[in-house]
């Protein structure tokens, strides 16, 4: 018979006390697991979200705020940058450094999901992970010549119930407040899930976004994000449309008449008649930039600083900002939570020690019987240590299940608050540390009762009544 079995039988004999101590260990381990899993998934999700772009360019201000807004759709929408700066970035001195630049405009929401004005390139050309482009689960991408078309992320589609062919009216503001309702957009596509924050966003044609924010001059004070009121153009605004933008504008103009009416009126829901918005009136929240892969390494490193210096904007590397956020603020919070959870595990471990130690006086007779059958002192010591390890590992295994269950319970809340989807089945490699950790803890807390067992006087204990 193995010593494990002898230890297990001893646990069975004190089933209630053993179950309670194992349960307290389970609670501690569950917390540790929940902290590890949730942090791991958040870390992974944030880093994944930052992978698609090399740089985020936006108005000067907090770099982290810019990244959180542009990439994760979190926090307050920062100030906008001028369209002129955008044009200078993509068509000016940095044109050769940039492979792809996707402008985005923020400021509206639909049922709490951010409505983002952008271009069709977002889904036609951009990769959200290395080698992985956006795919449409239903419908198609919006067309640049159809300003009132929209494509929605997988989660946003599920939560809002919007389907291809349906319309929705964005509301002013970045939260689910009841603000001013705008003209409707028509959903033409639903994105396949990507595991990025974009699953929770609604993307509309940027031209349409500008149009719904167009206000008469006397209503200029109510101009919305992404738009400057007439007469409030950026000081750097040039009356001449930018070179690269020209190309796009020219393309658009092919579909619009001089009055800004679509050339193919009635062809698509998005082809409403809208006046062409002068570039001077346009603003952009941020530009998602993929740099030229052939760029010299030194230039690549210096690019953010050069952009910051040459243009009245800031360029930040999202991965850098997220690394700082995760390793700085989030990392410290996780460390504190982890320390607290580990302390709970240690307290549970002490509970195991107390439980086994208290049982020793009742078990002296049994220990003496086993010794009389030929077991050495060290064998008895090992049996007690194994008992402690079984309780810790058993409790740990239950805690592992509870921890992932807890993660599953918290997942909707985390998704609601942060947009990060956490699956209870996501296991983190760092969870493996629990096994040697629990064994070491069990060996430590089991040592005292094991020594008591070791010192049992066999002859004396055999004579005493069981």
């Amino acid at each position: 018979m193995s010593l494990w079995k002898i230890a297990w039988r001893s646990i069975q004999q004190r089933a209630l006390a053993s179950a309670l101590t194992a349960f307290s260990m389970a609670m501690g381990v569950a917390l540790v697991v929940a902290v590890i899993v949730i942090h791991g998934v958040i870390d992974q999700s944030f880093r994944r979200g930052a992978q698609g772009y090399d740089l985020i360019v936006g108005a000067k201000g907090s770099p982290l705020e810019l990244v959180l807004t542009a990439v994760y759709h979190l926090g307050k929408v920062p100030s906008n940058m001028s369209y002129e700066a955008y044009d200078e970035l993509v068509n000016g001195q940095f044109a050769s450094d940039i492979q792809l630049a996707i402008p985005i405009c923020l400021g509206d929401n639909f049922k709490g999901f951010r409505v983002i004005g952008t271009t069709a390139d977002m889904f036609d050309r951009l990769e959200y992970l290395d080698g992985r482009k956006y795919e449409l689960a239903e419908g198609r991408n919006f067309r640049d010549d159809a300003p009132m078309e929209a494509v929605i992320g997988a989660t946003a589609a599920r939560k809002t119930g919007l389907k291809v062919g349906e319309s929705f009216k964005p509301v002013h503001g970045s939260a689910a407040d009841r603000g001013e309702e705008h003209e409707p957009f028509q959903v033409v596509g639903v994105l396949a899930a990507t595991g990025t924050p974009n699953d929770r966003a609604i993307f509309v044609n940027m031209e349409g976004f500008y149009h719904i924010h167009t206000k008469p001059a006397d209503d200029a004070d109510r101009s919305l994000p992404g738009m400057k009121a007439e007469g409030k153009s950026s000081a750097k605004a040039d009356s001449k449309p930018p070179a690269k933008a020209d190309a796009k504008d020219a393309k658009k103009e092919a579909h619009h008449d001089a009055a800004g009416k679509p050339a193919h009126a009635g062809e698509a829901a998005g082809h409403h008649g809208h006046d062409e918005i002068p570039n001077e009136q346009k603003e952009i929240t941020a530009v998602l930039v993929v740099v030229n892969p052939n760029m010299v390494a030194t230039r690549r490193v210096a690019l953010p600083k050069l952009i910051n210096k040459q243009l009245d904007v800031q360029a930040v590397a999202p991965s850098e900002q997220i690394a700082r956020l995760l390793e700085g603020i989030v990392g410290n919070v996780q460390l504190i939570l982890l320390i607290l959870a580990v302390m709970i595990v240690v307290v549970a471990g002490i509970g195991i020690m107390v439980s086994i130690y208290n049982s020793m006086s009742d078990r002296r007779h049994e220990i003496a019987i086993i010794r009389a059958l030929g077991a050495r002192r060290t064998t008895i010591m090992v049996v007690v240590l194994l008992e402690s390890i079984l309780l810790a590992l058993g409790g740990g295994a239950i805690g592992l299940v509870l921890g992932h269950g807890l993660t599953g319970v918290l997942a909707p809340l985390i998704a609601e608050q942060t947009g990060v989807s956490v699956s209870p089945m996501q296991f983190q490699l760092s969870e493996l540390i629990l096994i040697p950790g629990l064994i070491a803890l069990a060996a430590m807390v089991g040592y005292l009762p094991a020594v008591v067992a070791y010192r049992t006087d066999v002859a004396q204990s055999l004579i005493s009544s069981p």
Binding site: M1, K5, I6, R9, S10, Q12, Q13, H365, E366, I369, I370, R371, A372, L373, G374, A375, R376, R377, T378, T379, V458, A459, L462, I463, S465, P466
Partner: protein, 224 residues
């Protein structure tokens, strides 16, 4: 000769620091396969003697040789190993472990020796004592007589050379006493195992060819 006790003394320390002598046995021997009954009144040192022979308690002085090995000179762990492989013990109160089944209790008797526990032998022994239908029953589910039979099977499990039985019928009802004695004697005979039974029951003692009175072989008796 299987067992030889030579000038064995055993005393315990008293709270006032003086020694309380229990045993003083100049000579005691048992041959291989021999069956001996040791008779003595309560408190005369019968259990202490068995503990000394089993190596559970060390003698204060003297030699305890079993099959040529002086266990009084061995390290404690060596004595444990020796006991696990060569000695079987039947306790007055059976001393079965309550959370183990009958089969597991017998297997426990084979666990601490060098050989691997033999499940088939454990089953055979339980069958031999008439408990083949009680293999998975735990002691609280067994009658007193059945518990003592499991204890006998456990004592035989490690193929010992010597079985020590400490008043094995003391807690068994009259109807089962003879069964237990017969079982011990027959199985020891079959397995060619020497048997030392300690008892204070004359009806048990008179069945054995060799009866030893502890008061006669223990010189401490005169002073107690």
């Amino acid at each position: 000769m299987l067992l030889q006790l030579k000038d064995v003394t055993k005393s315990f320390s008293q709270p006032d620091g003086t020694a309380l002598p229990i045993l003083d046995i100049p000579e005691f021997t048992v041959d291989a396969g021999e069956q001996v009954v040791m008779v003595g009144r309560s408190g005369c040192g019968k259990t202490t003697l068995l503990h000394v022979i089993a190596g559970i308690g060390r003698p204060t002085s003297g030699r305890v040789k079993i099959d040529g090995w002086d266990i009084a000179l061995m390290a404690e762990s060596e004595v444990d190993q020796f006991r696990a492989e060569r000695i079987g013990y039947v306790f007055q109160t059976f001393n079965l472990l309550p959370s183990f089944t009958a089969l597991e209790n017998v297997l426990l008797g084979m666990t601490f020796g060098r050989l691997r526990p033999d499940r088939e032998r454990a089953k055979t022994l339980l069958k031999r004592v008439g408990l083949e239908h009680r293999l998975t029953h735990k002691p609280p589910m067994l009658s007193v007589g059945e518990q003592q039979r499991v204890a006998v099977a456990r004592a035989l499990a490690n193929r010992p050379q010597l079985i020590l039985a400490d008043e094995p019928t003391a807690n068994v009802d009259v109807g089962n006493q003879q069964q237990v004695i017969d079982l011990l004697r027959e199985t020891c005979q079959e397995e060619k195992v020497a048997l030392i039974i300690v008892t204070h029951a004359p009806e048990v003692a008179e069945q054995f060819g060799r009866i030893e009175y502890l008061e006669q072989i223990n010189r401490v008796r005169a002073g107690r």
